[in-house]
């Protein structure tokens, strides 16, 4: 395929934002029908690069050529007219509109809605991605939402399809089906620019990979000829040590949940149905699941933000279901939610103030109803020092920190409180590899000291790295926990609900 003239040529693309060069002189080619991987850590400049190709951002320097012609899209509709379509990482969908309306919004010249519905059905069947055009997007699962995005792109018969981290919300079985769809598209001549940091996926799917680090291209190679380790080292630029997990005996049950059911407080949320598990001291329980299967609700009900009948949740044998977050913190249960800004941390408050908000009770930061600022600052500084949070000091507001640094701070803030039980949701989401390793190691160390740890995550590799036992959330139900040792990815996929009603694309083209 690469023998043909390239479809898209990028040469010397540069884009700088105040204080950071997002892309520095990036050049590579994409051939027709090629599945080309764009690899890099968070902040390596992948998103900026594809935004330039899609017309959302204008490059400061450099040029692009599409089929040999100069190509400088002023806005996304120009890109779409030129045959470039994009599936976004954070879905660009509208909850309150139906599938057909969402598809129409992403098209240049959509047919009348009735014809569009028929075409959506046809294309979705042809590619094994069933969808009902009349359903509200807010009611769809994450996998189904992605189908909406993909079909929106396919209806425009694109020559280049950009996919930004498409598998982070899918079960392993759904990933297989997606890959079959992508290979079929590639056979039909559609080039795919595939952005990811999951190396095994790229090695199985892509024929060429461009690796970015710190905004610069470090290599273009054939990922099938490199080992995952070689790719990782190119990506990170240093050697990574996997976290250590010493063998240790488990203690008594510290957190027990029996028959917990709870209606979601969000109209598009997932209600929890009959959740049961027991967590022992020193144990790390990993809870997998595709986004939107009740993870948020589970965290809220365990942290105490949502109350439940008191005997449904027991902490160290004591019923705590009726207690709020502060009541549970005093007894030794702390939590770190997924959303860093606005949930785990107040964006416009300083790190010191944020440290107080969670640590006030367990660290005794208030005296006679007044805040002990010296002690609070010392607490914030100890978190910053221990977790290597890169910030000028604890007086900086939370909003000013990068995602990874803030994540280290909010997780570290909870770990520093020496809890008996800690619940974390997506602890390393959007965090670079070395920071992620620090956070995982800290959670394992805490378990080693005898705390119970619940890690809710959509990253299976992460769960397999840290978890002693393993359960999955699927439509608000939790599977019985199983020992993590010896579990295969296939088994985990089935625990997560398999392929959610999808079927593979037919081998033959229409």
């Amino acid at each position: 395929m690469t023998a043909h003239a390239p479809l898209l040529q990028l040469s010397g693309l540069t884009k700088a934002y105040p204080g950071v060069v997002a892309n520095d002189d990036v050049s590579f080619d994409i051939g027709p029908g090629q599945i080309h991987a764009l690899l890099g850590e968070n902040g390596a400049g992948k998103s900026t690069l594809v935004k330039m190709i899609y017309g959302l951002v204008k490059p400061d320097k450099g040029e692009m050529r599409l089929r040999g012609q100069a190509y400088a899209p002023g806005q996304p509709s120009d890109a779409r007219k030129s045959g470039i379509a994009m599936v976004f990482q954070h879905f660009s969908l509208f909850d309150a509109l139906d599938v057909a309306e969402n598809v129409a919004l992403g098209m240049e010249n959509p047919p009348p809605l009735r014809d569009l519905a028929t075409r959506i059905r046809d294309v979705s069947e042809a590619y094994g991605l069933p969808l009902d055009p009349a359903r509200l997007v807010g009611e769809l699962s994450a996998g189904e939402r992605q189908r909406v995005e993909i079909i929106r792109c396919l209806l425009q018969d694109p020559k280049l399809l950009i996919m930004d981290e498409p598998t982070s919300v899918l079960t392993p079985q759904e990933v297989d089906i997606l890959f079959r769809t992508l290979r079929k598209l590639s056979d039909e001549g559609t080039a795919i620019l595939y952005i990811s940091h999951k190396l095994e996926e790229i090695r199985s799917l892509c024929s060429e990979a461009t690796i970015l680090r710190g905004g610069k291209k470090v290599a273009t190679c054939d990922p099938r000829e490199k080992s995952a380790r070689e790719l990782a080292e190119l990506m990170v630029g240093q050697l990574l040590t996997p976290p250590e997990r010493p063998e240790r005996p488990f203690g008594d049950v510290v957190l027990q949940v029996d028959g917990l059911s709870l209606a979601s407080n969000n109209p598009f949320g997932t209600s929890l149905k009959d959740i049961n598990f027991a967590l022992r001291a020193g144990e790390v329980l990993g809870i997998a699941g595709v986004a939107g299967n009740g993870q948020d609700e589970l965290l809220l009900v365990l942290s105490g933000e949502l109350a439940s009948p008191s005997d449904r949740v027991r902490l160290l044998g004591q019923p705590v279901g009726h207690l709020g977050p502060n009541g549970r913190r005093e007894l030794g249960l702390v939590a770190a939610p997924e959303e860093r800004l606005g949930h785990a941390a107040a964006p416009d408050m300083s790190l010191t103030e944020n440290a107080y908000l969670s640590g006030a009770h367990r660290k005794g930061l208030a005296k006679n109803g007044f805040i002990d600022w010296a002690k609070t600052r010392a607490f914030a500084e100890s978190v910053i020092a221990r977790f290597d949070v890169r910030t000028p000091g604890p007086h900086v507001v939370a909003r000013a920190l990068s995602g990874g640094n803030l994540q280290k701070f909010v997780i570290g803030r909870e770990i520093e409180q020496n809890p008996a039980v800690i619940i974390v949701n997506q602890p390393t989401w959007g965090v670079d590899a070395s920071a992620a390793a620090t956070i995982r190691q800290a959670l394992l160390d805490l378990a080693g000291q005898g705390a119970g740890v619940v890690v809710i995550s959509q990253d299976l590799d992460e769960l397999l790295e840290v978890a002693d036992s393993f359960a999955a959330l699927n439509e608000g139900r939790l599977t019985p926990p199983r020992p993590a040792k010896g579990l295969t990815v296939d088994e985990i996929g089935l625990m997560m609900g398999g392929a959610h009603g999808m079927h593979a694309a037919e081998g033959t083209a229409q």
Partner: protein, 310 residues
């Protein structure tokens, strides 16, 4: 016996007239909120429309020009709001409240020389034989053109939002402005246009008060109609035909209140004046409980400022 003095046909005719100003203002605000903007300046745009329409009509002797002038004045004031909130990124709630106060003050200043004057009469629309139908003719077919124009705008807005591509884009912008931006739609431009449309409608509603309903200019004559219109949008859960029904309901309450007084019923007027707001509060509580279907219809980006990110 007491209620017997109220004639149904006259009551219906009166309530259609009473409802038209708030209906016009509400349907405009509905479009604005569907685009994700909360403009609390409806009252200010209405009263400016009332005085501007009055002045133009008196100066030219032509009520039609008066209504056009009112729509332009309301639209201009709304443009100021669009400049503040969409370009200068000012807080929508504070800007809207300021717009109301500014409109009230400006209209009082402009209208000083016009107090106590009668405007040129707006003729009733001649609907020929329709007006002669017993009861129906008196109730529904003996109005001025604006009453029907208001209904036509409601139908137009309903069609626009439901079936047109521009309406779909407007709803998308109001539902999730980040996603709309990501797809390449001009969030601020769409919102600015919606805001101006809302202002023009509010201006028309205001002029209806000063040129037809009262008809006279007095300071502060909108007397809270803009706030009722705002409440009405929520009450209607952002659906055009519910806004129509709600406007006639609220209009009915106003008329009933006058009739009951005239008929000598001893209910303090204040109870009825309060009722639209009470109903709205109940609706708001119901919606924000999260269980109601209605909650699914509130625009997702309502009152959230949009910052384009790189």
């Amino acid at each position: 016996m007491i209620l017997g003095s109220i004639q149904p046909a006259v009551l219906i005719a009166a309530l259609m007239v009473a409802a038209t100003p708030i209906l016009l203002a509400a349907i405009g605000e509905l479009v604005v909120e569907k685009a994700g903007v909360l403009n609390l300046g409806v009252e200010g745009m209405m009263i400016l429309g009332a005085v501007a329409g009055f002045i133009v009509a008196v100066q030219t002797g032509n009520p039609t020009l008066g209504f056009i002038g009112a729509a332009v004045a309301g639209g201009l004031l709304a443009l100021l709001f669009a400049l503040l909130t969409q370009v200068l990124m000012a807080n929508q709630v504070a800007s809207g409240l300021a717009l109301t106060l500014f409109g009230l003050g400006l209209s009082a200043l402009l209208g000083q020389a016009y107090v106590g004057i009668s405007p040129p009469r707006t003729p009733k629309l001649d609907l020929g034989p329709l007006s002669d139908i017993p009861f129906l003719g008196r109730a529904f077919f003996s109005h001025d053109a604006l009453v029907y124009l208001a209904i036509a705008i409601v139908i137009g807005v309903w069609w626009f939002l439901k079936y047109s591509r521009a309406g779909l884009i407007l709803r998308a912008v109001g539902e999730n402005h980040d996603a709309a931006h990501g797809l390449g739609y001009h969030v601020k431009r769409v919102r600015a246009l919606a805001i101006v449309f809302g202002g023009a409608c509010a201006g028309l509603g205001g002029a209806y008060l000063s040129l037809i309903r009262v008809p006279q200019w007095t300071e502060g004559m909108t007397a809270g109609a803009g706030w009722i219109a705002l409440a009405l949008v929520v009450f209607a859960s952002w659906r055009p035909f519910r806004a129509l029904a709600g406007a006639y309901l609220f209009g009915g309450i106003v008329v009933l209140q006058l009739n009951l007084q005239a008929a000598g019923v001893k209910i303090p007027v204040e109870y009825l004046s309060m009722s639209p707001y009470l109903i709205t509060i109940i609706v708001l509580v119901f919606i924000s409980s999260g269980k109601a279907r209605g909650s699914l219809n509130a625009p997702g980006s309502l009152n959230r400022p949009f910052h384009a990110s790189g």
